[in-house]
């Protein structure tokens, strides 16, 4: 029992240390990635609660075995097998959390989080139309075209954010700007906003407004700045249908 407690404590300590380290590394360059750090800390807290639950179940199991009419040898046998089971459960849980964090961190973009917009851009550029999976924008989140240039191969002048008319009043909570020719969107909402995006890419900027069919969307800067010789992609933020 003492040995098992030591191994669980050691595991918890390592997960705790590594998640804090990951949280620090990830949250530093981009505000957008901050929730991953929160997720890591939350995971560590939850892991501690789960360990407490496993401890209670183990204590109860031993207590119930003691009460049965089994012989001493049989009770010892049960205890040994239960230790093994508890160890396996603890390893599975710790492994699950560690692997989850590693997966988050090792999966691009944003140094970790698989991003529906980046995936959508990659599958749609240089020409085509697609819709991304749903994603959440947290209060004060800011997403910039720069966030996608490394992992999509697109130039910052090829990526522009737009707002769909179906956003309604939510649209007022999303501020799109194109400072220094770089398009970005910032949430000024106090709660999370659930969105998806229609991604429309064309080979060049020839008559962008017409070819992208953006007349009904608000796309600051796209006409003025979208590259003449490069693909032009509009990320139209919209409310998911469901």
């Amino acid at each position: 029992m003492i040995q098992m407690n030591k191994s669980i404590l050691l595991g918890l300590f390592l997960v705790f240390l590594s998640t804090f380290a990951f949280a620090d590394v990830i949250s530093s360059p981009l505000d957008f990635a901050m929730p991953i750090g929160i997720l890591a800390i939350m995971g560590t807290i939850l892991l501690a609660i789960i360990s407490a639950g496993i401890g209670i179940i183990y204590y109860l199991y031993i207590r119930l075995i003691k009460r049965t009419n089994l012989t001493k040898e049989q009770k010892e046998k049960y205890k040994k097998s239960s230790k093994k089971i508890i160890k396996i459960i603890a390893i599975v849980f710790i492994g699950f959390f560690v692997l989850t964090f590693l997966w988050i961190i090792l999966t691009p973009p944003h140094g970790g989080r698989p991003n529906p917009i980046a995936s959508g851009l990659k599958s749609t550029a240089p020409s085509g139309i697609g819709t991304t999976q749903e994603f959440l924008m947290n209060p004060s989140d800011e997403i910039s075209a720069e966030d996608f240039q490394n992992n999509t191969g697109l130039d910052v002048n090829s990526i522009f954010f737009c707002k769909s008319n179906n956003l309604g009043s939510t649209g007022e909570m999303l501020i799109i700007s194109s400072a220094n020719n770089i398009s970005s969107v910032k949430s000024i909402a106090t709660t999370k906003i659930k969105l998806n995006a229609k991604i429309i890419c064309k080979q060049t900027n020839l008559d962008t407004n017409h070819t992208l069919g953006l007349a009904n969307f608000s796309c600051p800067g796209i006409i003025e700045y979208c590259g003449d010789t490069q693909p032009c992609c509009a990320i139209v933020l919209q409310k998911p249908n469901n």
Binding site: L39, I45, I49, G53, L60, R63, I104
Partner: protein
């Protein structure tokens, strides 16, 4: 601040679930110390894991969360809780199955009424 809110919300969900499920256990006449500890123990294992998965999904958009996917997760939780309870109370497996199903249906329905999630 966001972390504190998140932890508080998860703690509230855990405490509410334990209170509701203990209430159901009492109603089904499982009032012994061992049963109470067992109900608390299984919930400490399953509830944080479930909420972590849901939170993780909202960050990574892995699967579309709707009524049916939540229901599948809830069924998985019920099965895990039943297995743990059945190992602990070998002679009362049928009652433990009934207990696990009743506890989780009640907490699921009360959760839907209280939080009215928009799927």
């Amino acid at each position: 601040m966001e972390l504190i809110n998140l932890v508080l919300a998860l703690a509230l969900a855990l405490v509410l679930t334990i209170i509701i499920e203990l209430g159901v256990a009492f109603l089904l006449n499982h009032k012994s110390k061992e049963k109470i500890l067992a109900v608390v123990g299984v919930n400490l294992i399953t509830n944080p894991a479930l909420n972590f998965l849901i939170q993780l999904n909202s960050q990574l958009s892995m699967i579309q969360l709707n009524f049916y996917s939540i229901l599948v997760l809830e069924i998985m939780v019920t099965v895990i809780e039943f297995l743990i309870l059945a190992v602990l109370f070998k002679k009362e497996r049928k009652q433990m199955l009934l207990l696990a199903v009743a506890m989780n249906i009640t907490s699921f329905v009360i959760g839907l009424i209280l939080f009215q999630p928009r799927f």
